[in-house]
Symmetry: C2
Subunit: 299 residues, 2 copies
């Protein structure tokens, strides 16, 4: 296994791509190109969670995928243990910053595809929560001039073969509506900070919210999509997934949607490999990973 930390931008130590590249054996499947998955951990664009990083990479690696964990630009550049006394915010977390990070990661994987034995036609992006917002943003914006012009390469470079979204944030307008009706001050405070990260301000306009909502950009160019969510997710509401699926349906994009009846936000693998607390262990929902692999193998 080749473990490498690749810094994506010379002037930014925060943004790194961590590789988990499976050895090429002289003995079996020699020189065979393998599919790859780029993993975008969540964390409200305030950080990238370890719970949705290496453990996810290991699951995909165990199924024969080269995996890459992207630590993209987030508001805090270190893990924040005390939110009452947070470090200074990083303005590079503002959009399209993280989308550029992911685009750069796609380029690097493709540039090294031969050396690493990556099948360039089978590069998927798997994100969770805010990381799923990032993954979906690439899913709907890969063909945009913004990326093509920034990097000066063909749009196809950025096209994910599929996207896999765990409890994704996809519709900021639906979020706003439900958050306004919520009595939860902690939650509101969290999203104010998260908005500072993404929009550069705690209270973006409706237009700004719409602009960064992937749900509004689904087209027939959107890649096949796998989504899972819990119906009672109290942080990133299930409407995000439902509304996105409605758009996928409308555009005839192949997709799979699994909404489990109950479970908190941030379940990750739903078992002890990623649990920080008891509520993160949820055997019923843990089937999502096998469903995702079984679905992914078709593409």
């Amino acid at each position: 296994m080749l473990i490498k930390k690749i810094q994506l931008w010379e002037d930014n130590e925060q943004v790194n791509l961590f590789t988990y590249i499976i050895d090429n054996s002289k003995e079996f499947q020699t020189d065979k190109k393998k599919p790859a998955v780029i993993i975008c951990p969540g964390g409200g664009y305030l950080g990238t969670s370890d719970r949705e990083a290496e453990p996810i990479a290991m699951r995909f690696a165990a199924q024969g995928y080269h995996t890459f964990v992207l630590r993209y630009n987030t508001y805090f550049t270190e893990w924040v243990s005390d939110f009452n006394n947070p470090p200074k915010g990083n303005e590079k977390s503002e959009y399209p910053g993280p989308l550029f990070d992911l685009a750069k990661a796609m380029m690097i994987v493709k540039e090294n595809a031969e050396e690493w034995f990556v099948d360039s036609d089978k590069i998927s992006i798997c994100g969770f929560s805010a990381g799923a917002h990032l993954a979906a943003s690439m899913g709907v914006h890969w063909q945009d001039d913004l990326l093509k012009e920034k990097f000066g390469v063909d749009s196809e470079t950025f096209k994910p073969n599929t996207i896999i979204l765990g409890y994704p944030l996809l519709d900021y307008e639906a979020m706003k509506e439900k958050l306004e009706a919520s009595p939860d001050k902690m939650l509101k405070g969290f999203f104010e900070t998260s908005n500072k990260a993404v929009f550069g301000k705690p209270y973006p306009t409706d237009e700004e919210l719409a602009k960064l909502s992937p749900v509004n950009y689904v087209t027939t160019n959107t890649p096949p999509t796998f989504i899972w969510h819990t119906a009672d997710d109290g942080m990133v509401y299930v409407e995000n997934s439902l509304n996105f699926a409605t758009q996928l349906t409308k555009n005839k994009v192949p997709y799979e949607l699994h909404i489990f009846e109950s479970g908190p936000h941030g379940l990750s693998l739903c078992d002890e490999t990623t649990a920080r607390e008891e509520s993160h262990i949820n055997p019923h929902c843990s089937v999502w990973f096998d469903l995702a692999i079984s679905w992914l193998k078709k593409y």
Copy 2:
């Protein structure tokens, strides 16, 4: 993930322990000690197969185990593609050479347990075919004076918490009986070379065969054991597992035995992650890994 190649003996480049150590996160389960698995790939003591090495490590890693692949002393020091023109044999593959390699690996994992966050009481050995012979040999010989005296440490150092055996060679006498009755000259030739590796001669005496058969050394000290095999394995006969299970029963050692009706020798993970040929894909048998994990979690 910490990937390291640790050479076990100064004067022998062939024998290495490859580490796959899961990152310690500041964010969840910080400093929590994890269980570990030392993997012994098979290959008739002529080599160690990649098909039973990193892909197995990835499966265990995906379940939260630190994993270690042991490339122990084998007769050939490189992968042999042409058996009609084999390289010179390595006499260090003769017993107890490989057992010393595994003992040294156990010591290294325990010596570094604190740094790597390994739970020293939960170190299992998982072997396949000849590698399962090695794993089982440690299972039945860990308390022997041979190891204690060679390394000058307490016998408990070498005690595996459990052993997991895939299509294991455990009973050389049963092998001899069936091989003599077999018309398969290729197979006979293979075991003659394998015997040169293990016994230093192609035709060991019955006494020598008995001495290196783990089945003859099962006691109440043998750790809990998980075994899987296919009933029609045409190379390492199923009697190896049946006879070993009989001894485990007699000694009241907790064990689990899964004999699948049909499948060739060397199935490894039974799916495309380890397949060299079509016959290595066997969805029915592939359940062995989940069964092994579910069993292993009890210990």
